[in-house]
Amino acid sequence: MTRSVIRTAAILVAALVTLSACATANAPSATPTASLASASAAAIIQPTHPVEFVISTAPGGGSDMYARAMATIIETKKFSPQPVTPLNKEGGSGAVAFQYVFEKTGDMHYVMITLNSFFTTIITQKLAFKATDFTPVANLALDPFFLWVNDDSPWKTAQDFIDAAKKDSLTVAGTGAKQEDEALFRRIQDTMQTKPFTYISQTSGATVAAAVAGHQGGVVASVNNPSEGLQLYQAKKMKPLCAFMPASPTTAVYASLPTCKSQGIAIDDYFIMRAIMAPPGLSAGQQAFWVDVFKKVYDSDEWKKFMSDNALQPDFKSGLEFRLFIQQYQQLHQDIATKFKWV
């Protein structure tokens, strides 16, 4: 018996020594070479094995739903020569997923769906990289925010809400701490000079809506996305007061909803992005492949229907335009984080 053990061990050691030499050569290059050249000019490089579509939230959340819808379209329409498999890497408000994809420098077999936590989490958790380090692919939609209150709330307009917020510190709910929902509430607080909101962090958009609809823990308002509040709106448990958008939404259900700007809350430039990012250091050709795939997704009828069903604002950005958008949002979140001492 002992002899066999020694034999096994010897084989293993020999294998390790020979193999470690070649494996070291695979170590990722430390400097992510930003591919600033125009992506469309380069020859498209295709993936050679199955692709992981990393989702930074748990199964069933908004981001997860959008990613699975995209993956389904890619699969049914055969937009990619290799399967694109969704994979949830939740935890730390996205930090785990960002770290995971960041470590895949130069590997095009990973793409990731991101939302505003891509900025907030990287800033507040002091991660070792920046949002601008990743290879941007495209933004597929902007998810607007509405201001929601309980259906039996005495406030009829956004102005009523602001007046009440100036008198007392209102208890509001949102998804996650120091994330997009809180960022928006703090912006309202800042621009409208209200009393500081008492912000209660919930685990998902659905539980935020439930908290408002059920008066849970004294919660009086939220800034849910239209799709998150729709069912409870139809059940007459909660109602939107205004939309943080430049113009009223086009979806039939919300068509009569005024913009918040027209009600005196001057915020119309804040949305949740539904954007695709890739690991740092992809070549122009690799980036071009993904831009092409997601452009096809964006142009598909399925995605168009999906966007209108969920009251998403169609918005395709790639290349330089998307890069500028990322820089703008990066700056906006950095400012909020500094102002409210999130760091």
Binding site: S4, T8, S20, T24, P28, P50, P83, L87
Partner: protein, 165 residues
């Protein structure tokens, strides 16, 4: 008994660690809850340790002789080696990554691990060992990778394109 005291010491060191993180000011904070959990655990384990020390009991040896220790190690050591083999070991410094063990991935490691047991503990004939080493990974590959698209860890040979797993 000795192990019991070690247990208390270990628990204590853990318990002592958390409060050093500090309780946040304000009515609720992130540290409040782990702090109290750690304190309760510390106190409870001190009591357990005290009881163990004061109440005389029969020598409750951790391992009844080296034989049973060997029986446990026989399982524990290959298991650890197996886990390490799947993921490999890397040392990451700021500008270079040293590979101590390259990742063998799930399938190669499983083949090795299963055949080790069949050969060493089961004392099966060589062809049976070979069959087990090939059959199990193939079945798992078919079910997980092909059937359900669940990706299990791949070997370093996958990255270079030599093997499909």
């Amino acid at each position: 008994m000795v192990v019991l005291i070690a247990a208390v010491a270990m628990f204590d060191s853990r318990a002592a660690f958390s409060p050093s993180a500090g309780t946040a000011p304000g009515d609720v904070g992130a540290r409040w809850y782990p702090f109290w959990a750690a304190s309760i655990m510390g106190v409870a384990s001190v009591i357990v340790g005290y009881r163990a020390l004061t109440t005389p009991q029969g020598a409750e040896g951790a391992f009844e002789g080296s034989r049973s220790l060997f029986a446990v190690l026989k399982l524990a050591v290959p298991m650890l080696a197996y886990a390490l083999l799947i993921g490999g070991i890397k040392w990451r410094t700021t500008d270079f990554t040293y590979t101590v063990i390259p990742p063998f991935g799930f399938y190669l490691s499983t083949a090795l691990y299963m055949s080790l047991f069949a050969w060493w503990l089961g004392r099966y004939k060589v062809w049976w060992v070979g069959a087990i080493a090939v059959a199990f990974p193939i079945v798992i590959f078919a079910v997980f990778e092909l059937g359900f698209r669940v990706s299990l860890p791949k070997s370093f040979l996958y990255e270079t394109g030599v093997l499909p797993f």
